[in-house]
Symmetry: C3
Subunit: 351 residues, 3 copies
């Protein structure tokens, strides 16, 4: 019997199955430094502890997308080692902030299965929940992936496609206990634009570009203990259809979010991921640009210190974004678009 | 109205103007590890906490140049986003040591302005002061940059050029309270050469070379939250006159200082920056070499445990330094010279 | 007199000589994050503090090979700056676990000397001992290197070749006080295979490959404060017989050990290094693969919570390892083999 991990194939998943993912991860200040070095993050509460604590955080919290990568990375060996494609995200809600010293672990439940008509692959829907050492939920989300069948004769399971919300309801956003953004300091944060200043339909070109290097995305992806082979093995990659190592889609999320500081400098708190698509693959040498659109703007019940903005974050490769490139007339993503992320942030307001 | 930061143009600066720079930065052990990984630092007090504390430091202090980068990085979005050239440094004095856990922020005052005769650019002099969370000054320095005008019709301000010292007076060097270098251990520090052993006029070839990679300088520059676009965007850089991303000048300072350990192994405490010039640009693939010259040597009043050395640190690209390459007969820097830094160190002496 | 370190030449070593190596090193969480980012380590006790403490560790211990690199790096400026080749390792025993916050320093004793018949080089055997701030031994090992003579007329020393064990005796393995693997959680560790499940003679192909980038091995080698010039200076390297920078052999050890998680996921505790050879050089761009063989399997006196496995770890470059590439019929390493490491691990058992 082989002792190496073959990963799960489509026929290995069953509805309701629980997957306890390996390798809990104690996150540290070292992870935060690397994250800053990899993406250039500048949101004040993730950069300066005293100011984070003035907002009610217990310490300097990790950027929510770093927490996402840590929770997500754990699922790869069990969920997507034999994946053909990462198809989507939904219903992602961030809970307790993650602080250096916290230990995060992830469990997933299979909530949907649908074999493809070719009989060679199927779609698996998992609800993954990351918790900290106090069993507080830090992130709860659904993703679905297309996974290969190994045994083509394995029986086709009954198709179950879960009902998923198109958007997380603003009333379902989690606001960690103690958070109070009323003392937020715009001058030190580097941006005067608060919740009131954004309008639904407004588009923002984040202007700057950042070029990806192989060493950077490899270090990032290993930091998250994401083991997907396509990111690391050029010997195998030289024979794939691109001839190159693929960049982990989460690396693009964090690059784009880092770039979005320029225009959304106070959008430091991600509250939910409504939907997401890695529209096209990226490679070392690509320069990533990003633009955002305000999709919705909501008050939060009983709060005058913060409001919610629903944002679309679009990243492109080797294509500046002053024209807001997105989809063609056929409804398909432009070949330069590499990320389409729909998410909620909590942003300080003037009260 | 655009929400992205356009940066300040020459006409946006006014004499006496105060700039409160964004994004205070809590520095951590993670930053120190990255700094070691990027430059190979080996000065004992920055590497080993118990030995640092024997010298009177409260903990393991950051290399002063790492503190410099952190303080400097903050100024970029307000001072040099539209800069054509970083012209010089003067009157830089390091104050309180920076320790992991400290939070550093920076404020600048405009102390000089001079429009160039072409009417398209001008020189801005700023005095930048970095302080820690106790409001203790960690670094106070002047730099001047050539900045573009946006509105060429903006009125020309009265030219004011500040009087700046050519050299920081040795009596003005700050020695942090409690420091006592008398227990310094040369054997563990890896160099037997103390203050007494250096002579004015002495030149030291640091021998070793270090080749720069894109991923390294990008990670360094983002770690310092320096946002200058020329370092990150190859898509734009392919059309500049070099066709390449430029390396942040501070990356060269730290590389050269790292190399200078081989010959100046006990010069761990930088006390002042008298002057500095980034003589020529550097790019990924360049191999950096360095040499030093002892420009001055001074006792420190009332101290037998340490003395001051004024050093010139010269870095070259793709040019070993046994011949001490510097300037041509025309007084201009040799094209291989990339850094000329004039600084004071405090070095342990035999007493 | 030059103030730069010329390193020791063969004639500078004498039998019984003690070398107190410079630059003690306080290791931190930042170092651990970088190590994870460089190699993708996933052994649970090095990733998650609460689970490490359940096994009796005082905190989250460093991977033993990271401790090895820290101890080894110190020896380079004194032992191998003028080395032609790193010939072997023996009798390596790990002692006290190394935790973030510990300060490690290294001392070596010359235990053997043998001039080569060409009169130009000689072999130096050193016993290096790394200790922590409590003077507890963290690693004790022997290595031998071929070092150049500088003065070819220097007298030939009496040849002394130390007697070295081919294998560390299982009874000599150090088990740190308080360790108890009986609460080990295989599910969270990501592998169900414990000590009982491995058989002598069993070979494991670790399947995955990882491609090396220049920025990665340079950052790793500097993190360990290993100063050997061949790793950093492309300007000089362009004229060596490879035309390239050489990768530090220890980088390959950690890459291979990282890959070996897939098949040896519970082999988190290295107890001894019996022997090791860097069979062929590696360069940026090489993809590293690895396989292991179980060489021996021993009970540990009085312990039902753990057993010892003696493993051979073989790494290759640009050569997948399903065929277990090793040596040719002539007994020489295949040109694709880059590492042959013989070591003991302590592995949890079912009791």
């Amino acid at each position: 019997m082989t002792k190496t991990n073959p990963g799960n194939f489509f026929e290995d998943f069953s509805l309701g199955q629980e997957l306890v993912h390996a390798t809990p991860r104690t996150v540290t200040e070292g992870d935060v430094s690397l994250y800053t070095a990899l993406y250039g993050f500048r949101h004040m509460p993730h950069s300066a502890e005293p100011y984070a604590m003035e907002l009610g955080f217990e310490a300097m919290p990790l950027d929510d997308m770093l927490a996402f990568h840590m929770v997500f990375g754990k699922t790869v060996p069990d969920v997507s080692l034999n994946a053909v494609a990462n198809l989507g995200y939904a219903a992602g809600r961030f809970g307790a902030p993650v602080y250096p010293g916290d230990t995060v672990r992830t469990t997933s439940t299979v909530i949907g299965l649908k074999e493809n008509s070719n009989g060679k692959t199927g779609v698996v829907y998992v609800n993954s929940v990351g918790v900290n050492q106090k069993d507080e939920v830090v992130l709860d989300y659904v993703r679905w992936v297309m996974v290969k069948k190994k045994n083509l004769d394995a029986p086709t399971p009954e198709a179950v496609i879960p009902e998923l919300p198109k958007v997380v309801d603003v009333d379902d956003l989690v606001i960690a206990e103690g958070l109070d953004f009323s003392k937020y300091d715009c001058e030190l944060a580097g941006s005067p634009h608060l919740w009131e200043d954004y309008e639904v339909g407004e588009k923002i070109d984040h202007i700057d570009g950042m070029t990806i290097e192989e060493a950077e995305h490899q270090m990032a992806t290993r930091l998250y203990q994401n083991t997907a082979k396509v990111h690391f093995d050029q010997f195998a990659a030289k024979d794939n259809r691109f001839g190159k190592r693929l960049i982990y889609g989460g690396h693009i999320i964090s690059l784009a979010r880092g770039l979005s500081f320029n225009g959304l400098g106070n959008a430091f708190k991600v509250a939910a991921i409504n939907a997401g698509a890695h529209a096209n693959p990226t490679f070392s040498g690509n320069t990533i640009f990003a633009w955002s659109e305000v999709l919705d703007k909501q008050e939060i019940k009983g709060r005058s210190d913060m409001g919610a903005l629903r944002l679309r974050l679009v990243a492109t490769k080797d294509q500046p974004t002053e024209g807001f490139p997105y989809k063609g007339e056929d409804g398909k993503y432009s070949p330069d678009v590499v990320l389409d992320l729909d998410y909620w942030v909590l942003m300080p307001r003037r009260g």
